[in-house]
């Protein structure tokens, strides 16, 4: 009797989420799959067209271009942001004075609304008279045209992403503070130097946190949208060098009203992110030591 009562209570407490996850997650996910096999403009009911959208998608040069841009951005930003946040966290993990102040300074940029920081970086990157190129000129570097140069536009957005590394830094810092001091003491007794302690004690111990940030970085990187939308007005200029996958998906779905095609793109994105997550989890099983 008690278990039946518990079942009732369990269901009562879970019911909002049961309903919510079906209506706002499960149904849309399934509907996206269905729409991906149809011609759908929202205004008219979907018309089944089989795998036509997918055939077109695999021949769509813009889609490939956007996927390429996204992969470059995701890898670039993950590497640069992870490195930046890890270095910041290692520097801060020194029981130094003013740690709260430093942490605040490094963390603040990651709080900025993306629209505001995108506009700010557009202003800083602006070609002539931009503050970044002026600063570079002061040390004798002739800066590129950044957002106006197809060669540099993605790098510009990657650098801007690294400015928001404060969030990952806080996670790293928490991980570093959990490393048992006895490990360092033992390493020092064994005569391990600074770099040996870093590579044989610190990094292996915080490896779960590294993989967590890596995974979050990739998942977020593949969904990059707002920066490119704000900075290019949605066009992905110059020369489609910042046309990211979700931006293209948005354009196809909400500008061209080709919702069926957009759903095919969406499902491909879902599968990519799913596979990527699996790969990272696999890797983490091999490289991460979870025993403390």
């Amino acid at each position: 009797m008690s278990t039946q009562n518990d079942l009732k209570n369990g269901l009562i407490f879970s019911s909002p989420w049961l309903i919510g996850s079906v209506v706002f997650l499960g149904y849309p996910l399934a509907a996206a799959l269905y729409y991906s096999f149809t011609d759908y403009s929202v205004l008219l009911p979907p018309v089944f067209v089989g795998v036509e959208n997918y055939i077109e998608l695999f021949q769509d040069e813009l889609a490939y271009k956007s996927l390429y841009n996204t992969v470059v951005f995701a890898f670039g930003s993950v590497v640069l942001s992870l490195f930046t946040s890890l270095v910041l966290a290692l520097l801060l993990n020194n029981q130094i004075r003013g740690i709260t102040l430093y942490r605040t300074v490094f963390f603040l940029p990651s709080l900025m609304p993306m629209v505001a920081s995108s506009i700010l970086w557009m202003w800083m990157y602006s070609g002539e008279g931009g503050i970044i190129n002026t600063a570079l000129a002061a040390v004798g570097i002739d800066g590129p045209a950044w957002l106006a140069d197809p060669q540099w536009a993605k790098s510009a957005i990657i650098i801007m992403a690294a400015w928001g590394a404060g969030h990952a830094m806080v996670i790293f810092l928490a991980g570093l503070q959990d490393v048992p001091t006895s490990l360092y003491e033992a390493a020092i007794i064994d005569g391990a130097g600074f770099w040996q302690r870093l590579f044989h004690v610190t990094l292996p111990t915080i490896s779960p946190v590294i993989f967590f940030n890596l995974l979050m970085g990739f998942i977020g990187g593949f969904q990059v949208f707002t920066q490119a939308f704000v900075m290019t007005g949605g066009s992905g200029a110059p020369e489609q060098s910042t046309l990211f996958y979700v931006l293209q998906l948005y354009n196809v779905g909400f500008n061209d009203l080709r919702m069926g095609y957009a759903c095919a793109m969406a499902w491909v994105l879902f599968i990519i992110i799913f596979c990527l997550t699996m790969v990272v989890m696999r890797l983490s099983k091999r490289f991460v030591s979870y025993d403390r």
Partner: protein, 417 residues
């Protein structure tokens, strides 16, 4: 012996830290400084750091003026007394004025016509003089700006921020072109709010409209997410029932579904419900819980001892009473983390509002600012920076008030991953 992992010399660590801190602060400083510069200073090559204003003294009063422009050669300013230019003040070369007559050149069709008209000398302008114009804060200011020819020494420069840019950016973000000329006070008074009836006469869409939309959505979805997620997390942690673990596993799995994958079907669902163009798509779903918040709260509820619930049950409390009277009050730290994260998410969200908000009177601040930026296209940077500051200020203020919750919240998400 020091237990410090990387410690060789603690003071040496400050050097890279200070440099990095400056690099991270640099954009923020430039943001604030630009937002305080007069429009003539913005975009100068090379850029100038501090906001500087030019002013002259006239009859003991200071008046702000535009940056001086050189006159170049000896000229005279004359008041024309006949012909087409009658009543106008014209600056002509000194040699072109003699015996109370000025030689005026005028383009007529494709030839230059010169005529001598009667004119009165107003002021002679030696070549070392400069031209300045009276400076008005707003480009919507209808008052005429006088032009003045003065000695270079009389134009003084002072470092002084233009705080008025902030008010001016509020004015610029007003949707209706005609309304931009209104005074700030009147703009605020005529602002349409989420509860103002749509297209009611005499109302106008301003920055305050966007602000109130954002705050309303944030408030509702923070309440919704916190309450519903706590409710669900309770069922997933403090009630033992068959299927609990399966549901929790499913909850974790849903965190992997990216929003862009769902946005097309969600759009058509909300469209069918008639919610597109209203704020509802942005807050109603939060009342059904969010996977991330449920996860965080469940982990927290699991740390509370079982005996608490058992004791309450013996006292005759129902499951709901245990949730409301025993568990929730103890979960305040976790609840505030969830509320804070949800607020940040909604406040900073851009893609959701972009898709679901089709009417300008429902725009959130982020969307309103982006729309304004795309119209202005690379000009008016001082106003864009002022608006960006105003968009960022609430989150930054929130951070300073809730720093501890913030840091703890972020730390736990990483550790539990």
């Amino acid at each position: 012996m020091s237990a410090n992992p990387l410690n060789r010399s603690r003071t040496l660590v400050h050097l890279p830290l200070v440099l990095l801190a400056l690099a991270f602060l640099f954009p923020l400083i430039w943001l604030v400084l630009t937002s305080l510069q007069p429009r003539e200073q913005v975009g100068k090559i090379p850029p100038e750091w501090l906001p500087r204003r030019h002013f002259i003294e006239e009859n003991g009063h200071e008046i702000f003026v535009t940056p001086p422009e050189a006159v170049g050669s000896d000229k005279v300013l004359v008041l024309v007394e006949e012909g087409i230019d009658r009543g106008n003040r014209v600056l002509i070369p000194a040699a072109a004025f003699s015996d109370g007559r000025a030689a005026l050149q005028r383009q007529e069709a494709d030839q230059l016509v010169e005529e001598r008209v009667r004119a009165k000398l107003v002021q002679s302008v030696p070549k070392n003089y400069v031209f300045v114009k009276e400076w008005h804060l707003s480009k919507y200011d209808k008052r005429p700006a006088r032009g003045l020819y003065v000695t270079p020494e009389s134009v003084k420069v002072r470092v002084e921020p233009v705080a008025g840019n902030y008010g001016e950016s509020i004015r610029s973000l007003t949707a209706g072109e005609d309304d931009k000329a209104l005074g700030l006070g009147e703009l605020v008074a005529r602002t349409s709010f989420p509860w103002t009836e749509r297209s009611s006469p005499g109302h106008t869409i301003t920055f305050i409209t966007y602000l109130s939309n954002t705050m309303l959505v944030a408030l509702l979805s923070v309440i919704g997410t916190t309450l519903s997620s706590a409710w669900v997390a309770y069922g997933l942690s403090r009630v033992v029932w068959k299927g609990r673990e399966a549901l929790f596993g499913m909850t974790l799995a849903t965190m992997m579904i990216p929003f862009p994958v769902l946005m097309v079907p969600l759009y058509s669902v909300f469209r069918a419900l008639g919610w597109v163009g209203t704020l509802m798509p942005l807050w109603v779903p939060s009342f059904f819980g969010s996977a991330f918040s449920i996860f965080l709260l469940r982990q927290f509820f699991l740390t509370l001892p079982k005996e608490l619930s058992e004791a309450a049950r013996i006292d005759g409390c129902s499951e709901f009473q245990i949730f409301w009277r025993v568990i929730l009050p103890l979960a305040k730290p976790a609840l505030s983390v969830v509320a804070l994260f949800q607020f940040l998410f909604v406040y900073n969200d851009f893609l959701g509002p972009l898709i679901f908000l089709t009417e300008p009177d429902t725009f959130t601040m982020a969307l309103g600012l982006q729309q304004y930026q795309s119209q202005e296209g690379g000009s008016e940077w001082h106003l864009l920076m002022a608006a960006s500051c105003m968009l960022s200020a609430p989150v930054i203020a929130l951070f300073f008030f809730t720093q501890r919750t913030f840091i703890q919240g972020i730390s736990t998400t990483g550790m539990k991953g």
